[in-house]
Symmetry: C2
Subunit: 236 residues, 2 copies
DNA sequence: ATCAAATTCAAACGAGTGTTTGAATCATAT
DNA sequence: ATATGATTCAAACACTCGTTTGAATTTGAT
């Protein structure tokens, strides 16, 4: 129980950072493949080539390990999202921002993480896609805290960008966009089984390059769609 | 090990159907709240008020129980989807069907299940939304088998309905639509935490009545969006 | 009433879980 | 070289997991 309370190594990188990183990398991969409950500490430490007790020593518990796996990526992602939105708002100088720019800043920034292996690459992208529907209470709470500020800023930007669309409608469509995106990245192989595509597999392979423009046009098409007409239920 | 091999009670309803149904209902709710690995047999049998061994006796294993939880709903759902598509194709008499009708037949039929408690209601809807991103291998395989025929028929219908859209594009957009839908139904409360809405909660409550038209316009907006222009990467 | 099958039950099984312990090893600064 | 703290390690802890067992009970047909 020596120093497990220390949140992060203070400044310089000790050799034990190795162990931490190896554990985080192994956990990221295994969580993606097997889920949180389907991944045991022994699987993680085995894949990382470290002792079983290392996780509890460095992170405290499995729960805290899960949080750290996300935090090391999400902190960067959401700061980047805020930075870009700041930039856009500065350029716009008070005027509304084009919806396509807002959507790209939020979802494009996420998708583009897949190209950078040092940011977790496709593995982390799949993991986060799956985790959005995670039932576990503490994960939902953690995500809520990690996302609250960003989502709120983007919501406000969309309200301003689409003044003719009711706010409730925008929130719902934001919700839908999140779903389409999560699914697209989580299920690159999950649903390939289901759909079997019926198109040349070569065309499915190069998916990630073309995924972003494809997703983008879909999201924007949905975001800018005509407003729904609520039909009153027949009689009642 | 008396008769555990019997797939289903032959014809008439015995009193033990009670036990089966109680288990399935309890499992459906608990899986929705806690996930598959987060729900133990003891939780299920406890909630159902039956003996611990009852699950293994009636279903063989936890894995088979999970499959049965889905099968009793999905069989109806996908038959209904096929039936409606048959109807639409008969009416169309060889001509393409309007995309909105196809989309409503597939996704609307799912959403409308929520209104019928005897079909599982909102609980099953949330469960299926979450399960689409499930990592577990046997669940993916099971879903693939259960969905293959339906998805293929609907894909063909969409190809015909949108002759100007490349097939690969349609498959992707079908994928996106699945994601938006799954998310919308799975996360009715999951993301409410994240977004906190910023709109009158009363307006969020009546969500399910208006969810379908809202989702519908979003999906159709995305499905019919302009085609993406693939920009070649800068230099390379 | 009798018999055979279906179902329920309490108890236990072996395996796997996350976590803890205390000694051994390593690194670093004096 | 020595002392101090950080880290690693093998072993064990208490617990939960899904499943199995074999006897008790219930059910339904004769």
């Amino acid at each position: 129980m020596s120093q497990a309370a220390t949140p992060l190594p203070p400044v310089d990188a000790k050799s034990s950072d190795d162990t931490r990183e190896r554990i985080l990398d192994a956990a990221e991969h295994l969580f993606t493949e097997n889920g949180f409950e389907g991944t045991s500490m022994r699987m993680i430490t085995g894949a990382a080539g470290v002792n079983l007790a290392a996780v509890n020593y460095h992170f405290g518990s499995k729960e805290q390990l899960i949080q750290e796996v996300f935090r090391r990526r999400l902190t960067w992602l959401n700061q980047e999202r805020l930075r870009i939105l700041d930039e856009l708002e500065t350029e716009a100088a008070g005027k509304p921002i084009k919806p396509s720019l807002i959507v790209d800043a939020f979802f494009g920034t996420l998708i583009r993480m897949a190209e950078h292996e040092e940011l977790g690459g496709r593995t982390f992208l799949r993991l986060i896609g799956r985790t959005m529907t995670e039932p576990s209470g503490f994960i939902r709470a953690f995500f809520a805290e990690e996302y609250a500020a960003v989502v709120d800023r983007y919501k406000q930007a969309l309200f301003k960008a689409l003044p003719d669309v009711p706010k409730a409608e925008i929130v719902w469509r934001f919700h839908f966009m999140l779903g389409a995106t999560s699914y697209a990245i989580a299920g690159t192989d999950a649903l390939r089984i289901v759909t079997d595509w019926g198109i040349e597999p070569q065309e499915a392979e190069e998916g990630l390059d073309k995924l972003l423009p494809r997703l983008m046009t879909f999201l924007l098409g949905g975001l800018r769609a005509q407003l729904p007409q609520f039909v009153e239920p027949p009689s009642k």
